[in-house]
Subunit: 193 residues, 2 copies
């Protein structure tokens, strides 16, 4: 199963691609950043990001696209551009009937390091280790996109459905499931989004 | 010149189309709302809005698309979906090399009623009068999309460039130009958007 992770942004939009094989074995395929220049008008910036994302999706033909969930409480200076870039990634996937998953930064950190509040460098180190790489993936900030793809691959079964399966989860998985449910409740509060 | 106005939204996205002829004569062409159901997943909602907007743009082949500018300070419950719908409208126009203009609600109210703080019903009445309609356009909340199209048609020359032309403007046009410049400064502050 090929998973394409997207760390959305209008100036820099991270893209990370992994393969999830049997026994949760994960392999690195690709990492890159799609860019648009702040000197361009906003419509042309969105077009550049969209075209860049479409090119990646068509090249790697992912089975799922995992995108960071954007919250209105995020950095006011960039939140709208970030939300728009995330929207373009969702559109590009939906146009190709590729399933889309949204994961919060906390979910991604928890899935990868076991700590939802992990530092950026911890996440980068674990991404490097999980994918069996000799060096940290570059550009460094695109590691977030790989983290989103890994998070989707490692998500505990039933995490988003809740219910009986939870009693069979490990402590880390339960913590993960609670974070996912918390995010679902926040999403419910974000009506119209 | 055909102008297509967009009042962005994820649940209801208003679309209004007018023709701007000689001597600033404006004629009504079309008004409608593109919808997506809150029961659908977000990626499919964005796809529905995008496809609806593309159908309108291809049907009316506008020379310009005028979209309401979204601010991060807006209603937190809906601002991200609104920003994403605005982003899709920009993308659909940019893909067809149609120029995009962003106008604030204050600019639209001021251009249409002479008062940037006008009530919704005042705007609807003036839209009806300016377009020479016998009854208010329905659905009523799509009048905002027509207002954005009219705002773009009536924008004073040089309003966004500032400079010498301003001294020849009427009081209302000067007020409009100031609102536009204020918006430009806010846009400048919204780096990354």
């Amino acid at each position: 199963m090929i998973i394409l992770g997207v760390d959305p942004g209008l100036t820099r939009c991270g893209v990370g691609v992994i393969e999830a094989g049997a026994h949760r074995r994960l392999s690195f395929i690709h990492v890159d950043v799609v860019r648009s220049s702040p000197d361009m008008s906003q419509d042309l910036r969105l077009l550049a990001i969209y075209n860049g994302l479409v090119a990646k999706i068509e090249r790697f033909a992912p089975d799922a696209v995992s995108i960071e969930r954007v919250f209105a409480q995020s950095n006011r200076n960039t939140v709208l551009g970030t939300a728009q870039a995330a929207g373009l990634a969702m559109l590009a996937a939906a146009q190709r009937t590729i399933p889309v998953a949204l994961h919060t930064p906390t979910e991604a950190k928890l899935a990868i390091t076991g700590n939802g509040q992990a530092q950026k460098v911890q996440v980068e180190r674990m991404v490097t280790r999980i994918l069996g790489l000799n060096t940290m993936p570059t550009p460094a900030d695109a590691a977030d996109a790989l983290a989103l793809a890994i998070c989707h691959a490692l998500r505990p079964a039933g995490a988003l459905q809740g219910g009986e399966r939870e009693q069979h989860l490990t402590a880390a998985q339960r913590q993960w499931a609670q974070a996912a449910q918390h995010a679902t409740r926040r999403r419910g509060a974000d009506r119209g989004m």
